[in-house]
Amino acid sequence: MAKRVFRLFRGQGNTGQLVDYELECDEGMVVLDAVHRIQAEQAPDLACRWNCKAGKCGSCSAEINGKPRLMCMTRLSDYPPDRPITITPMKAFPLIKDLVTDVSWNYEVNRRLPEFKPRPPDFPDGSWRMYQYEVERAQEFRKCIECFLCQDVCHVLRTHRKHDEFIGPAFLTRAAAYETHPLDTNDRATYLKEQGGIGYCNITKCCTEVCPESIAITDNAIIPLKERVVDRHYDPLRAIVRLLKG
């Protein structure tokens, strides 16, 4: 197969530039293969994250021609051969080096999310009964591989940098996984409203579009959570008072 040009972001902290690498490519290659080949042959200190190379671990997130994607699941043959493929790090997080960003904020958010609390066991042996139709709703959200591409594309984080006030679509999905868990008894409505910043989401569905697991983040996770929060915090008496006072 022919040579192709890859335009990679190289840099650290606040500085960096796009650097072109020309590379011999084989049939079936994905973007991550190209990055590895550049590492092995031309730039041994090129930083990138990866693990499974099969779309299961969510480590190799980056922006390919400006679109948030997993490098391991993006085939070179999807792009015109005569034009460079541009690979840049996720924009919503601080840069560490090259294609690697500091995603530690996500782990802090996860730590603060109210944890799973099951109802008491249904049987003296400590077990529960749950049916497939009950678990399926939560299973959709539990497919999340924590690639953080939805966080990257979300304008509340990416453009408005509301990291202190908004937990982002990834953790709204996680919250939905708990809230739809048939055994869970914990209450996250107040948390989602006050610390989670769920109101910031104006359902543009960008997150759903980039999810490599095809989770219907906006429709199935965020909108039902918004409804739950409104139900909980809507006080009819106060609404009438507000209406009368203008």
Partner: protein, 599 residues
């Protein structure tokens, strides 16, 4: 003086896959201050890629299943080479560990009456694997990850450990570097649990990621611990073979568990031709019987031969390809499209559907997959006490893939995820109890730290030296060619000679750039572990002059009764690798009866 960040804990756990997380949780529940150190981000360890499920005799699908049947299956699958006590503990405790995971939030697929569903898998008499579609590992690691975080475990991500500190004959700490900054960090603790997984990255075709460089095996070896069974490396029968860039990526055994069949280029279900004597009578003898079993009548019919153990299926595939009956790209065909309808396949094997569609342009609901063997798992590892997972050096513990003994000469699919939980917990408990008996934390002499740091930084002094990626690739090539699925003396000798040269080249590797997030530098350091484990494997293979389970030799094609219940032990003796053969503990009579006559 070199600046080194310092931390103090009671117990440190190296590796944050299933075993490491479970060990950290247990030590923390025992009241210990626990550090969990991992090379990647949390939740990205190999466990996340596990697909098929976790084996446990819950008896939800087949009430007649119990620990004895599971024990028997494990021992027979391991060719009777397993540590019997570990296999027993594993079979007895796995159901509790699965139920515990459910109490912590895991959502397994359900039976019609609302219990945890169980799927059939190779070598298991009954449907036994608790699962979530084909992403069981993801479910397990998330649940354990959240549990660990809420238990108060201190997590140190993207930190690679390069040396264990041994003071007065006891392991009492670990020295590592932050991948991000390239700075060094010293963890002091009473006990260290190794949960670093496997070694597969030393072969060219593998389902393993960059992390699987055998760090834990090498750390234990350097610290003077004994390792066993290193000749037993599992080749999973079904890895992807095409296109070249995805070669080796795993295709779950769940495809066969759900009815997928293996075909050669003449369309024959060749597994009927490879029935080992040991399993004769346990498996279907006609396609009709196998198909009837798949479509639901599991009481009257026997399992399809595609569900034979992994060593048997891998060797059968190699034989078919060698006989000229392989697929266009040097594998065989795995077909589920003609056995199940598209909706069923997408529901039960969603990530396989996705993986083939995206990476190979193959729709598995319409056409067969091309598959072939891929290095997947190492049965060998650190020799441990079955009750506490203590290694042969005080203060050191090991659990999961890095520990040896549990799986004998061949691991059954599904027994790894349950192994992680059962022995992860026991290692955490063992380490916590050991830590509580210790007094003050010993001081770690500065020269121990300095020597290691100097060694680690040496590649920066050698810019213009050997390319570490090239050395790694050459290592993977020689192991693939000379220490692959079938071995012989000449090949092994060639491998050993190559390793000696590669070691010299590894000493000359050079790197440019800074210490910050520099994968080239990381590869220089990984080479030490990889070359150490490769040598252990090659020497152990040379020692065992017979074929058993996953260890197959051209020049000694049969199992030799003289080698029965004997294990190859590797240990460091100064700069020399000492290899010896010792008898395994005798299997108690009542357990032999279970194995021979059934439970």
């Amino acid at each position: 003086m070199i600046e080194v960040q310092r931390h103090e804990h009671d117990v440190i756990v190296i590796g944050a896959g299933g075993a490491g997380l479970r060990a950290a949780i247990e030590a923390s529940l025992q009241g210990c201050r626990v550090a969990l150190i991992c090379k990647s981000l949390l939740g990205k360890a190999h466990t996340v890629m596990a697909e098929g499920g976790a084996a446990a005799a819950l008896g939800n699908v087949f009430p007649e299943d119990n620990w004895k049947v599971h024990f028997r299956d494990t021992m027979r699958g391991g060719k009777m080479h397993n540590n019997w006590r570990m296999a027993m503990i594993h079979a007895q405790e796995a159901p509790d560990r699965i139920r515990e995971l459910e109490a912590w939030g895991a959502l397994f697929d359900r039976t019609a009456d609302g219990r945890i569903n169980q799927r059939p898998f190779g070598g298991h008499t009954y449907s036994r694997l608790a699962h979530v579609g084909d992403r069981t590992g993801l479910e397990m690691i998330r649940v354990l990850q959240d549990k660990a975080v809420h238990c108060g475990v201190d997590v140190f991500m993207e930190c690679t450990v390069i040396k264990l500190a041994v003071v007065d004959g006891k392991v009492c700490g670990a020295l590592g570097y932050w991948r991000e900054s390239g700075r060094f960090v010293l963890f002091r603790a009473h006990a260290v649990v190794l949960a670093t997984g496997g070694i597969g990255k030393a072969w060219a075709i593998t389902s393993n990621s960059w992390e699987y460089t055998g760090d834990g095996h090498a750390l234990a070896y350097d610290a003077g611990a004994e390792l066993i069974d290193m000749e037993f490396v599992q080749f999973h029968p079904t890895g992807m073979v095409w296109p070249p860039s995805v070669r080796g990526i795993l295709v779950t055994e769940g495809v066969r568990g759900e009815g997928g069949v293996l075909l050669n280029n003449q369309g024959r279900r060749f597994m009927f031709d490879y029935m080992p004597e040991m399993y004769r009578g346990d498996f279907a003898e006609t396609e009709e019987e196998a198909d009837a079993w798949v479509t639901g009548d599991r009481k009257k019919n026997r399992r399809p031969p595609e569900l034979l153990t992994r060593d048997v299926v891998s060797k059968a595939i190699v034989a078919e390809v060698k006989a000229g009956r392989g697929s266009p790209h040097g594998g065989v065909f795995l077909d589920i499209a003609s056995k199940r309808d598209p909706e069923y396949i997408k529901k039960k094997l969603p990530s396989m559907y996705h993986q083939f569609k995206e990476l190979a342009g193959v729709d598995i609901t319409k056409e067969p997959m091309e598959v072939g063997p891929t290095v997947h798992y190492v049965m060998g590892g650190v020799k441990v006490d079955p009750e506490t997972q203590a290694a042969t050096v005080p203060g050191l513990f090991a659990a999961g893939e890095v520990a040896g003994g549990m799986h004998g000469a061949n691991r059954l699919g599904g027994n790894s995820l349950s192994d992680l939980l059962v022995f992860g917990r026991r290692a955490g408990l063992g380490a916590a109890e050991y830590a509580k008996r210790q007094g003050r934390l010993p001081e770690i002499p500065q020269n121990l730290v300095n020597e290691t740091v100097e060694w680690a930084l040496a590649p920066f002094e050698r810019s213009g030296g050997e390319n570490p990626y090239q050395v790694q690739e050459d290592l993977r090539r020689t192991m693939q060619e000379n220490c692959g699925i079938v071995r012989d003396q000449a090949g092994l000798e060639q491998a050993l000679a190559d390793l000696a040269k590669l070691k010299e080249r590894a000493m000359r590797t050079g790197i440019t750039g800074s210490r910050e997030y520099n994968p080239g530098w990381h590869t220089c350091l990984d080479l030490h572990s990889q070359l150490t484990v490769a040598e252990m494997v090659v020497r152990s293979c040379m020692e065992r002059k017979e074929s058993r389970g996953a260890h197959t030799r051209f020049d000694y094609p049969d199992s030799d009764p003289n080698w029965e219940r004997k294990e190859v032990v590797v240990r460091r003796d100064g700069d020399r690798m000492e290899v010896k053969v010792v008898p395994q503990p005798e299997i108690p009579e009542e357990l032999m009866t279970i194995i021979k006559e059934g439970a």
